[in-house]
Symmetry: C2
């Protein structure tokens, strides 16, 4: 499995992905699932991927190869909007699946993506491309999207994330969401790739947090301790609870 998270804020974007890829429990690898598709002074586009690794790597590689080709409908550097970029990712996914799926089944050949970025003149946008190639967009009312092993890390985001959260606050919540997932599910693992992007900067900051990262240990230890203390402080259920 995999866990990828995209957060859309007024302030910009926060993207994060884990690094575990497994086929069964024997073949476990460390894989990057976040790729920077395009950065230039007027365009920033990132891709996060979950699902069949051969499929996701084909889609990302072929999109990268086509970059700079100048071919409309294939070159991510030419899209006029992030919507068009998401369409392009969906179309490439359909193409790869049409080529490979019949050979891969009964194993699951499908994949899904988060497409996030900013093109000069527009606000940052965030899309989730389904395995069918169609897609949905994050909005003010629903400012984060997840793919892969999404459930363990959702409650903390539902509780504390807001569209007007700062990049720093959202990055902290993203890491706590990964901490919850990694503790509860073996198929999601360190290191975490974390991208913080301030709207209008066209300069994403990407870092990789290994297990021994100082801030990661500080954050997750303090959260664990704080949560235990919080639960202990909460009143116990009385015997006449009804």
């Amino acid at each position: 499995m995999t866990y990828c998270l995209g957060i859309l804020l007024r302030a910009g974007l926060v993207l994060a992905s884990d690094s575990r890829s497994n086929a069964g429990v024997d073949q476990v690898q460390r894989v990057g699932k976040l790729s920077l598709l395009s950065t230039s002074p007027d365009r920033f586009i990132a891709l996060l991927s979950a699902g069949n690794l051969a499929t996701t790597q084909s889609v990302a590689s072929e999109l990268e190869q086509a970059m700079g080709s100048g071919e409309a409908g294939a070159d991510v550097a030419l899209t006029q909007s992030l919507y068009e970029t998401a369409e392009l990712v969906g179309a490439k996914l359909r193409q790869v699946l049409a080529r490979d799926a019949a050979y891969v089944q009964p194993e699951d050949p499908t994949a899904s993506f988060l497409v996030a970025g900013e093109i000069a003149g527009h606000a940052p946008r965030l899309f989730q491309v389904y395995s069918a190639g169609n897609f949905i967009e994050a909005s003010e009312r629903s400012c984060f999207l997840q793919i892969g092993e999404t459930k363990y890390g959702k409650p903390i985001l539902d509780r504390a994330l807001r569209l007007d959260s700062s990049l720093e606050h959202a990055a902290k919540l993203a890491l706590l969401s990964f901490d919850a997932t990694i503790r509860s599910n073996l198929s999601v693992g360190m290191p975490i790739d974390l991208m913080r992007y301030r709207a209008g900067s066209f300069t994403p900051e990407v870092v990789t947090l290994e297990e021994d990262n100082r801030y990661w240990r500080l954050l997750t230890d303090a959260y664990s301790r704080g949560l235990s203390e919080l639960v202990d402080r909460l009143p116990s259920p009385p015997s006449d609870l009804g």
Copy 2:
């Protein structure tokens, strides 16, 4: 969907279930998923169920009907151990599925159960019966079992629940686990049936918590507020995070 949780402690058992049943989004009902199969001065057996409602209700009803029949291999009041009780639930599930499954498909006819209780002379035990009718048991190393919509509510249990937690502490954590699930997933809903059982008592305490239950509101409000404050107190990620 459904969420049911069983916790095995040195002190006894804590069991909890939600009450939402839905077929699509139109047909939404309130349904009890926790049934007390048997209570007598030397035996306490409870059943929690998830999955196809016709299947789970058939299994529970037929087990209840057979109680007191004196028929070995059918009468839950006669089993010599909880292991035997779990076998009996699994066998009944297989029987119901053999009868109904072909008519129900392509809808999913399957169901799963938690079987928990104590029979005099033995420690309390907790089992999870899979839809295949086979089952696993909770142990010192893995003291809770979940069925239905299990993932949202797992992190808080992974963090804070211990085999030697008190009944009160475990009940508090169970409710917080349900709170996380209900906030993040529409298919799990109030009221919550909560059973606290002290080992050796043969007298379970069952309460139903509606949304306006005083303790439920106090607990979940204080937890929400405390968690927000905790997250705010944690240090923000520095810019040189790597």
